[in-house]
Amino acid sequence: MTIKIEFYGRLKEDFNATSTEWTFQPDTTVEALYQSLCDTHQVTANIHVVRPIINDTFVDWQQHIAPHDVVGFFPPASGG
């Protein structure tokens, strides 16, 4: 099963991508997905400051991902 992952702000540089395809196992949470991405890219996972979204909706880190989901990760906002 595959999903699309999108990175925003500095996370695009941390993960060296704007978006990517990812193959995952059933019952994977968005937190497990992010941890796996961080491990692969040797990025420190700080889920206390990063916010996940799925299909343009804010979700909890324990939300399970489903095939064809578009998962995004937001670093802290810095508008203004």
Partner: protein, 137 residues
Amino acid sequence: MFSLSDQAIDPKRLKAQVTDPRSGGFVSFEGWVRNHNDNKQVEALHYEAHEKLALQVGNDIIVQALKQFDINAAVCCHRIGALQVGDMAIWVGVSADHRQAAFAACEFILNQTKAQVPIWKNEHYSDGATGWVEANL
């Protein structure tokens, strides 16, 4: 109402949106691109947003301000895309019967927008480097 713009912000047009015959005053804030940050010379910057959620979160902030403060109207517009030094990055305007509520609501909207709305600032420095700014509260 909260909006995003990839064109120069027009304060006159936005002020017209908060003009209200019930109001005895109007407070606005303009945020501009400055030429320095954290001891670095800033030449330009780029704002990136998740537009759908930025509009959703921004409008939730406006609704919250209208409930929390005794105001009559509130508007916020944030630039996205490429900006130069001196360009206006954000405009917040509030009208109210009395000034205290207008000042407080204007600051609330600005602070919440900076903290909550999914917009990210990438600064371009005079030495050619770039850097993402975070949590610039």
